[in-house]
């Protein structure tokens, strides 16, 4: 893979010259006009992408008087962590004044079970579709994939009714079910494609040895597929943590996840706007997916690309 890349890049580099000349590495000056242009453009773009993060950071470390006087790009003269403390424990939403901590723990209580349940169900679905396809299975799978493109707004109200009938509307369990439902298309696709790519001989050998559906799943497929489970986990943790719509629609205020709590704090109309507290709260809410992103690196890319790769 790396060889192809370097070959192609060399070819690309040579494209501006007509005669290839002698083979082998050409000495390239680091500061050629071409390099300056490429790196210049990339660094400019990187600065644009990093700017909001920087602004959030410096704003959250300033006191309010300094914010009113200075500009948003200047680094703090006096660093204070008070906004962070306030954002976490005592910022008001209009309903209550215990800050983001309440939303944080709600989000933890929502994200962990939703991630586990949705992955457990979707991985078994994917396994059944890849190795034990029954008549009509492809039809259901097609409906599932097409359903992934239907706007949530179309299906929200019927789900409200179903959950209400089951007595789960407004509860954490209800929200976990909703996350499982809407995570299912992408996760099932992910697992189906992965299990299909495993060598079939493995499955056949286990069948000949008399292993059944669940034995093969737990003893052979599961241990072989840890990387794809990690990819699915990254996808679900960031997705569920970042959810806002389902949190508003399907839970009562005491279960509101962190994103909803954050929006209520920042956009609440009462009181004086404390921009430093708002920005500290925003960073705190973004911290979990950001940490997942920075730790997981390439796996994150693989997870989001999974949505783009067709089966």
């Amino acid at each position: 893979m790396d060889d192809t890349v370097s070959l192609k890049a060399r070819a690309a580099h040579g494209a501006s010259r007509l005669a290839p000349g002698p083979q082998g590495k050409k000495p390239r000056p680091m500061f050629s006009p071409r390099n300056i242009m490429i790196y210049g453009a990339l660094i400019f773009a990187a600065a644009y992408y990093l700017l909001p993060l920087y602004v959030m950071m410096v704003t959250s470390l300033k006191g309010m008087p300094e914010i009113r006087l200075g500009n948003i790009f200047s680094p703090p003269l006096e660093i204070t962590f008070e906004p962070w403390v306030k954002a976490w424990s005592s910022a008001c939403t209009g309903l209550n004044c215990d800050g983001l901590s309440r939303g944080f723990w709600n989000s933890v209580r929502i994200t962990i079970p939703s991630t586990i349940v949705s992955i457990a169900i979707a991985s078994v679905n994917g396994y059944a579709l890849a190795n034990w396809r029954f008549k009509g299975a492809d039809l259901f799978f097609t409906i599932l994939i097409v359903g992934a493109f239907i706007p949530y707004q179309v299906m929200i109200y019927p789900i409200v009714i179903v959950l209400r009938e089951m007595g789960l509307y407004g509860s954490l369990t209800g929200l976990i079910i909703v996350h499982t439902i809407f995570g299912m298309p992408i996760l099932t696709l992910l697992f189906r494609n992965y299990f299909s790519s495993l060598p079939e001989e493995l499955f056949k050998a286990a069948r000949i040895d008399g292993a059944g559906f669940w034995t093969i799943y737990f003893k052979i497929m599961l241990p072989m597929s840890l990387p794809i489970f990690v990819v699915a986990m990254i996808l679900q943790i960031t997705g569920i943590w970042n959810d806002f719509l389902f949190g508003v629609v399907f839970t009562r205020p005491e279960y509101y996840p962190m994103t909803v709590q954050l929006n209520n704090i920042v956009n609440s109309v009462q009181g004086v706007k404390e921009y430093n507290v708002n920005m500290a709260a925003t960073i705190l809410t973004g911290a979990v997916p950001l940490i997942v992103y920075f730790v997981s690196g390439r796996l994150f890319v693989r997870g989001i690309a999974a949505g783009a790769v067709k089966g």
């Binding site: 259901f140 707004q153 179309v154 059944g212 806002f244 629609v249």
Partner: protein, 300 residues
């Protein structure tokens, strides 16, 4: 193929039984929620349900009311503007960044990490950050003014006629990293011989990209287009966080219209009609794509 292993069983229903039991959640989701829920919503959009769904049919009344509502028309116009520019800009910026990243540069991983990190953040976080950066009193406008250009005006979030572009800026910041990643994967999939051939022929690099590489990446472009487009129709959280639809109704979007009518105005019929219109919009995007992509050949 594996079904044949069970061919001796007499009862068709019991064949592959474990697999069927294990697939019950998927079948229920597909049939009851995705198919049933969608049909239910479309069906009830022809009723005059208010607080609770009721079966009293009023024909197309809800749709007539919808298309006469100024707020819905503003929503549709915003979605069109936002959708058009967000498609163009994310494809162009995403492709240019990917092409730059494909020049065998150093620190590729660092650059990719930087371009993609906003995608890990929620729309709520994105909206609130940009609300602050674009704040006219403290943000970009005041910084430029303090540099001496005192008449400089840049207050998209407080100006009805350009507020949707303020949202567009935030959305592009959040989403272009993903497009860049998809494009980069597409570029890496191009055969190196193409580049060799174009070098032998002495074709300039920009021409190679424009007339050879991009047409070859048709599939990647279409997939990316579908992903961006279905995201555009859904845009909701970003608007709620950044402007709450304001100033006035200037930055309303269809998804917000649906939510407000279903859960706040308690006018379910309007909400159902509006969400059915969203469904039609998506169908217009998805059906031709699905036909091109999957029609004709059976997948197995």
């Amino acid at each position: 193929m594996t079904g044949q292993a069970y061919a001796g069983r007499p009862n068709q229903l019991l064949r592959n039984l474990h697999s069927k039991i294990a697939s019950i959640p998927m079948i229920l989701t597909a049939v009851v929620i995705f198919l049933g829920g969608t049909l239910w919503t479309v069906f009830y959009s022809f009723t005059n349900s208010k607080l609770l769904p009721r079966l009293s049919f009023v024909g197309l009344d809800q749709y007539e009311r919808l298309w006469a509502a100024p707020r819905w028309l503003v929503s549709i116009e915003n979605l069109a503007i936002y959708g058009f520019f967000s498609l163009i800009f994310s494809l162009v910026i995403g492709f240019v960044l990917a092409a730059l990243m494909d020049q065998k540069i150093r620190f590729e991983n660092a650059f990719r990490t930087i371009f993609l990190y906003p995608f890990a953040l929620s729309f709520i976080v994105t909206g609130l950050v940009w609300q602050w950066v674009l704040n006219p009193e403290f943000g970009v406008q005041s910084v430029v003014r303090s540099l001496g250009w005192t008449s400089f005006t840049f207050d998209p979030l407080y100006n009805q006629s350009i507020v949707i572009y303020g949202i567009l800026i935030a959305a592009l910041w959040q989403g272009t990293g993903l497009v860049m990643c998809l494009m980069l994967a597409g570029l890496r999939g191009i055969d190196e011989d193409i580049w060799k051939a174009s070098r032998v022929d002495g074709i300039p690099m920009w021409k190679t990209y424009l007339f050879i590489i991009i047409p070859m990446m048709r599939a990647v472009f279409i997939t990316t287009l579908v992903i961006i487009a279905s995201g555009i129709v859904r845009v909701y959280d970003l608007v709620v966080a950044q402007t709450s639809g304001g100033p006035g109704i200037a930055s309303e979007v269809p998804a917000k219209y649906v939510y407000d009518y279903m859960f706040q105005a308690q006018n379910l019929g309007q909400g159902f009609a509006a969400s059915t219109m969203m469904l039609i919009t998506v169908a217009i995007i998805i059906v031709p794509w699905a036909y091109l992509e999957f029609g004709g050949r059976k997948r197995g």
